[in-house]
C-alpha cells in the first residue's frame, strides 16, 4: 500500500478513529456536551480528510474499496447530514433521563457503515457497510429507555433488516455461483460476455434488489417504514430517512452502472413496477395519515419512487445525466427531510413526541419562524418552485423525458397531485387559529443548535431553489464516475 492509497482511505480511517476516541472519552467521563463536541469534531475532521483524499482519486485504495469523486462527494453529503442530525440529537436528548452519550458513538459507527457502502466495489465491503449501518440503527431506534414505541420499532427493524440481509446474501451467492466474481466490475465483464440472459444471475440481482428494497422501503417491501418512523426518536428518523436510504441508493446506482446490469430488460420492468407502486401507494396511504411522522414516512416511500424514475432512465440516457439527476434529487431530499423531521424533533419534549397533527394547529401564529421553515420543507417535498425540491423534480422530468418513460412520468404527475393534498393539509392545520390548550414545544432560544441547523437548511433550500447553479456545477463535475 503506498501513500496515495493511504491518503485515499484517510476519511474512513479518520471516522473510525473518531469513533474509537469517542468511546474512550465516554469511558473516561460521561458528559453529554463534551461527547457531542467530540462527535461533531470527528465528523468535521473527516470532512477535512475528504479534501485531502480528493486530489489522489480516483484510485483503487484496497482490493475491496474504490475511492473516486462520486464516492467522496456522496460521503461528504452523508457526513453533512450526520452533522445536522447530531445537532438535532443534541437538543432532543440533552434534557432526557438516562445515559445518552453512546448515542453519538452509534451515530458515528452508522456513518462509518454508510461511508463504507458508498466506496465499496466488492460484495464483501457492500455487506460489511450495510451491516455496520443496520446494527447501529437497531440500537439508535430503540435508544429511549423504558418506552414501548421505540422498542417495538427497533425490534421490527431488526427482524426485517435481518430478512433483507438474508436476501442480499442469497443473491450474492447465486451471482457468485455463476460468475465466480465478487467484484462489481468483474460481474459486469461476465454479463457483457454473455449472449443470452443468465437466469441465475438475474435471480441473484433480483434478490439483491429485494434486499435493498427493504432498506429503501420501496413497495412492496415498505411495511416496516411507518411503524419504525413513528417509533424512532425524531432525529433518528431523519437519520434513517436520509443517511441510510441515501447510502443504499448510491450503492445501488454504482452496482448497476459498474456491473452493467441494465442490460437485463426484465429488471427494468421490475424497477418500473416498483417505482409505480411506490409512488402510488406511498402517496395514497399518506393521504390517510393524521400522524406527521407516518405521513412523512409514506411520502418518503413516494420520493424514493420518484428517484427510481431517474435511475431507470439511466438505462437509456447518458450515465452522467442519470447520476446528476439522482445526486441532485438526493441532495434536495436530504435537505428537506432532515428539515421536516428537525421541526418535529424541535417541537418534541421529553414527555411527548410532536407527531400528532393536532400539535401543529396554529403553529403559524405561535412560532412563525418554525412554522415558516416547516412550510418551506413541505413545499419543497411537494416540488413547488423557489425550493430545491422543484429543481429536483425538474431533473426527474428531464431524465425521464430523455429516457422516454412516459408512463412513469405520468405516474410522477399523478403522485405529485396526490402529494400536494397532504402537504397542504399540514400547512392548513398550521394556519388555523391557535388554541389555548395547544402544547408548547421547546422555546427556540433553548434549542439554538437545532434552530441554527434548521435555519441553515432552510437557507440552502431557498438558495438552491432560486439559484441552483452552484450545486448543479458541483454535481456536474463529479457525475463522471
Amino acid at each position: 500500500m503506498d501513500i496515495n492509497q493511504l491518503l485515499a482511505l484517510a476519511p474512513i480511517m479518520t471516522l473510525a478513529t473518531a469513533s474509537l476516541a469517542l468511546m474512550l472519552s465516554i469511558a473516561g467521563k460521561r458528559n453529554f456536551v463534551f461527547v457531542c463536541s467530540v462527535g461533531a469534531g470527528g465528523i468535521l475532521l473527516t470532512l477535512f480528510a475528504l479534501t485531502i483524499a480528493w486530489p489522489k482519486t480516483p484510485l483503487q485504495a484496497t482490493l475491496l474499496i474504490r475511492v473516486d469523486h462520486y464516492a467522496l462527494s456522496f460521503m461528504a453529503l452523508l457526513l453533512l447530514a450526520g452533522l445536522a442530525v447530531l445537532g438535532l440529537c443534541y437538543d432532543y436528548f440533552k434534557d432526557r433521563a438516562g445515559q445518552n452519550e453512546e448515542l453519538l458513538l452509534l451515530l458515528l459507527t452508522a456513518l462509518l457503515g454508510a461511508s463504507v457502502l458508498v466506496v465499496s466495489s466488492h460484495f464483501a465491503t457492500f455487506l460489511m457497510g450495510i451491516e455496520t449501518l443496520s446494527i447501529s440503527l437497531f440500537v439508535l431506534i430503540g435508544y429511549p429507555l423504558k418506552q414501548p414505541r421505540p422498542l417495538e420499532a427497533a425490534i421490527k427493524y431488526l427482524i426485517l433488516s435481518g430478512v433483507s440481509s438474508a436476501f442480499l446474501l442469497m443473491g450474492m451467492a447465486l451471482i457468485y455461483a455463476q460468475c465466480g466474481e465478487l467484484y462489481f466490475s468483474g460481474i459486469g465483464h461476465f454479463i457483457a460476455n454473455q449472449t443470452a440472459i443468465n437466469t441465475l444471475v438475474l435471480s441473484g440481482i433480483i434478490l439483491i434488489v429485494a434486499g435493498l428494497g427493504f432498506k429503501l422501503s420501496l413497495v412492496p417491501f415498505h411495511l416496516w417504514t411507518p411503524d419504525v418512523y413513528e417509533g424512532a426518536p425524531a432525529p433518528i428518523t431523519a437519520f434513517i430517512a436520509t443517511v441510510s436510504k441515501g447510502a443504499v441508493f448510491v450503492l445501488l446506482l454504482r452496482f448497476f452502472i459498474s456491473a452493467d446490469s441494465f442490460v437485463y430488460a426484465p429488471l427494468l420492468n421490475i424497477f418500473s413496477i416498483i417505482a409505480v407502486l411506490s409512488i402510488l401507494a406511498g402517496n395514497l396511504l399518506a393521504l390517510l395519515q393524521n400522524n406527521v411522522k407516518r405521513l412523512l414516512a409514506y411520502s418518503a416511500i413516494a420520493h424514493i419512487g420518484y428517484l427510481l424514475v431517474a435511475f431507470i432512465a439511466g438505462n437509456s440516457i447518458a450515465p452522467h445525466l442519470a447520476i446528476e439527476s439522482v445526486s441532485f434529487y438526493l441532495v434536495a431530499y436530504f435537505i428537506t427531510t432532515i428539515g421536516a423531521f428537525g421541526v418535529v424533533s424541535l417541537l418534541s419534549t421529553a414527555q411527548t413526541e410532536a407527531d400528532d397533527l393536532y400539535f401543529y394547529r396554529g403553529l403559524f401564529w405561535r412560532q412563525p419562524g418554525l412554522a415558516g421553515i416547516f412550510t418551506l420543507m413541505l413545499l419543497s417535498l411537494a416540488g413547488i418552485p423557489l425550493t430545491v425540491g422543484f429543481i429536483g423534480k425538474f431533473y426527474i422530468f428531464t431524465s425521464g423525458a430523455e429516457g422516454r418513460l412516459w408512463g412513469l412520468l405520468a405516474t410522477v404527475i399523478i403522485g405529485s397531485g396526490l402529494g400536494l393534498y397532504y402537504y397542504l393539509r399540514i400547512i392548513v392545520v398550521m394556519s388555523m387559529p391557535a388554541q389555548e390548550t395547544a402544547i408548547e414545544g421547546k422555546q427556540p432560544d433553548r434549542a439554538w443548535i437545532s434552530t441554527t441547523t434548521l435555519s441553515v437548511l432552510a437557507m440552502l433550500l431557498v438558495w438552491f431553489g432560486i439559484y441552483p447553479d452552484f450545486l448543479v456545477n458541483l454535481i456536474h463535475s463529479v457525475a463522471y464516475m
Binding site: 401564529w365 413545499l379 413547488i384 418552485p385 423557489l386 422543484f390 425538474f394 422530468f397 428531464t398 423525458a401 430523455e402 412520468l409 410522477v412 404527475i413 399523478i414 405529485s416 397531485g417 400536494l420 393534498y421 397542504l424 393539509r425 400547512i427 392548513v428 394556519s431 439559484y467 441552483p468 447553479d469 448543479v472 456545477n473 456536474h476
Partner: protein, 498 residues
C-alpha cells in the same frame, strides 16, 4: 431593467408589508398602496421611454419594446429573460390597476394578520406580472407557480366558510396541469437539444424547433391543458366557482381580473406560436370547447343563488370567447380577445368588489336574502346595474367591443360555431338581469343598518367605470398598442392561419 424592477418592487414591497406589521397593525395596507404607486410610475417610465419604436435587441423584431436577458442556470441554458411588447404592456397595466382595486377592497375587510395578507397579495401580482413578461419557458413556469402559492394562502387563511376545500382544489388543479406543461416544456427543450446540441429554454429559439407532427400535438396539448385550466374552460372549470366564492374580495378580484388572463395570454403567446401546425389541427376542437364554455357557463350562472358563484360562472362564460377568438387566429378576433381580456378584467373585478361590499354589510352571499337595495343603497345599486349591463355586453361599454370583434373574427373561420355562440347574447342578459332583479328590486328583506358606498369604494368603482366606458367608446388606443404585437404573432405562425 425597468421590467426586472417591476417584479422586484412587488416582491420587496410584499416583504416590507409583512415586516411593517410589527410597527403598526394597519401599516401593511399603506405599504401595499405605496408599492403599487411605484409600480405605476415604473410602468409609465417604461412606456414613455420606448414610445418611438426601436430595435431593443439584435434578435428581436421591432414589436418588442424592451428586453432583459441575464444568465440564470447555464447548465441547461436557462436565462432570466423578460421581454415586453404591446400585449404584455396592456396586461401589466391591467394588473396594476386591479392591484389597486384589490388593496382597496381589502382595506377594511381584512383585519387580522394584515401583514401576511398584503405580502401574499403583492406576491400574487409579482407572479402574474412575471408570467406576462417571461420569454424563457423555465422562467414562465417559475412565475406560473409563484402566483399560485400566495393565492392559495389568500383563500385558505382569509376565505369564507368552505375555504380549505376551495383552496386545495384550486391548488391541485393548477399545479397538476402545470406539471403537464413542465413536461411539455422539457420535451420541447430536449428535442431542440437533439437538433442543435445546446440546451435552451428561450421562446425565440424554441419557436424555430422542427417538431415531428405527432409529438407536436402532444406537446401542444400539455400547454393547452395548463392554460385552459387557468382560463378556465369546460370541463376544467370546476375549481373556479369554489375558489372565487370562497376567496376574500381582494383575492376574487385578482383571480377573476388578472389571474384568468394568464391562461388566455399563454394560449396567445405560447400555444399557437410554438406549435402552429398542431394548433391548426386542434382549432376546431378548441373552438368547440370555447362555445360549450360560453353557453354552459351562462346557463349555470342563471342557476346560482350565491351572488359570487353567479359572477364566477359569468367569468367562465366570457373566457369561452377567448378560446374561440384565439383559435380563430386572425387580427380581428385577436383584437377582440385583447379587448375582452381588459374589459372582462374590469367588469368582473367590479362585480366581485360589489359582491364583497354587500357581503361585508349583510354577511351573506345568498341572493334570496337580498332585495330592494335601490331604496337603501342608491349609489352602489347604480354601479351594480352599470357593471351588470357591461357584463351582458351593452354597446358603448368595453365588453361589447371585445365580444363583437371576436364573433366577427370567428365568423370568417367557423360560421356554425360562431352562430351557436352568438346565442349567449340572449343568455347573458338573462343572468345579468336576473341578478339585478334579485338584488336591487323587490322587497327590502334585510332591515339591518345598511349604509351606502363609502368614499373609498365609490372612488375605486368610479375608476373602473371610467375605464370600461373609455374602452367602450374609444378602443382605438388600446388596439393600436396591441396591434403590432398581434400582427407579428400572426405573421410568425402562418401555419396556424387557415
Amino acid at each position: 431593467m425597468i421590467m426586472a424592477a417591476l417584479i422586484a418592487v412587488l416582491i420587496l414591497g410584499g416583504f416590507s408589508a409583512w415586516f411593517s406589521e410589527q410597527s403598526h397593525a394597519d401599516a401593511p395596507r399603506w405599504v401595499a398602496l405605496i408599492t403599487l404607486i411605484i409600480e405605476t410610475l415604473l410602468l409609465v417610465a417604461q412606456y414613455t421611454g420606448t414610445e418611438h419604436l426601436e430595435i431593443v435587441a439584435a434578435h428581436l423584431s421591432q414589436t418588442w419594446l424592451a428586453d432583459f436577458n441575464q444568465p440564470w442556470i447555464p447548465r441547461f441554458g436557462i436565462r432570466f429573460h423578460l421581454a415586453l411588447d404591446g400585449l404584455s404592456l396592456l396586461l401589466i397595466a391591467l394588473t396594476i390597476l386591479l392591484g389597486f382595486m384589490a388593496v382597496s377592497s381589502s382595506w377594511t375587510e381584512i383585519n387580522n394578520r394584515q401583514g401576511f395578507f398584503f405580502f401574499n397579495l403583492l406576491l400574487c401580482l409579482a407572479g402574474v406580472s412575471g408570467v406576462f413578461l417571461a420569454v424563457d419557458l423555465f422562467l414562465l413556469f417559475f412565475f406560473w407557480e409563484l402566483m399560485i402559492l400566495p393565492m392559495y394562502f389568500l383563500i385558505s387563511i382569509w376565505g369564507h366558510e368552505n375555504r380549505t376545500y376551495a383552496a386545495i382544489k384550486f391548488f391541485i388543479f393548477t399545479q397538476v396541469s402545470g406539471l403537464l406543461m413542465l413536461l411539455a416544456i422539457v420535451v420541447l427543450v430536449l428535442i431542440n437539444h437533439h437538433q442543435t446540441g445546446v440546451y435552451s429554454f428561450d421562446y425565440f429559439i424554441l419557436q424555430n424547433t422542427e417538431i415531428p407532427a405527432d409529438v407536436a400535438f402532444w406537446l401542444m396539448l400539455g400547454f393547452f391543458i395548463a392554460f385552459t385550466v387557468k382560463l378556465p374552460a369546460v370541463p376544467f372549470h370546476t375549481w373556479l366557482p369554489d375558489a372565487h366564492t370562497q376567496a376574500p374580495t381582494g383575492g376574487s378580484v385578482i383571480l377573476a381580473g388578472i389571474m384568468l388572463k394568464t391562461g388566455a395570454y399563454g394560449l396567445l403567446r405560447f400555444v399557437i406560436p410554438l406549435f402552429p401546425e398542431a394548433a391548426h389541427q386542434f382549432a376546431p376542437i378548441a373552438m368547440t370547447i370555447g362555445t360549450i364554455s360560453v353557453l354552459y357557463a351562462a346557463m349555470m350562472a342563471f342557476a346560482q343563488s350565491d351572488i359570487k358563484r353567479l359572477i364566477a360562472y359569468t367569468s367562465v362564460s366570457h373566457m369561452g370567447f377567448i378560446l374561440l377568438g384565439v383559435f380563430s387566429w386572425n387580427l380581428l378576433a385577436l383584437q377582440g380577445v385583447v379587448i375582452t381580456l381588459l374589459a372582462h378584467g374590469i367588469s368582473a373585478a367590479a362585480l366581485f368588489m360589489i359582491a364583497g361590499a354587500l357581503q361585508e354589510r349583510l354577511h351573506t352571499r345568498e341572493m334570496a336574502d337580498m332585495g330592494g337595495f335601490w331604496a337603501v343603497l342608491p349609489r352602489l345599486s347604480a354601479l351594480t346595474l352599470l357593471f351588470a349591463i357591461a357584463s351582458l355586453g351593452l354597446p358603448g361599454l368595453g365588453n361589447f367591443i371585445g365580444e363583437f370583434l371576436v364573433l366577427l373574427g370567428a365568423f370568417k373561420i367557423n360560421v356554425l360555431l360562431t352562430s351557436v355562440t352568438a346565442l349567449v347574447l340572449i343568455l347573458a342578459p338573462v343572468y345579468s338581469l336576473f341578478m339585478v332583479q334579485k338584488t336591487l328590486h323587490g322587497r327590502l328583506l334585510n332591515q339591518s343598518t345598511l349604509f351606502d358606498g363609502n368614499p373609498r369604494e365609490l372612488v375605486s368603482l368610479s375608476l373602473l367605470v371610467l375605464a370600461t366606458v373609455w374602452l367602450g367608446l374609444s378602443p382605438g388606443t388600446v388596439l393600436d398598442i396591441a396591434a403590432p404585437a398581434l400582427k407579428q404573432e400572426i405573421q410568425l405562425s402562418a401555419a396556424m392561419a387557415p
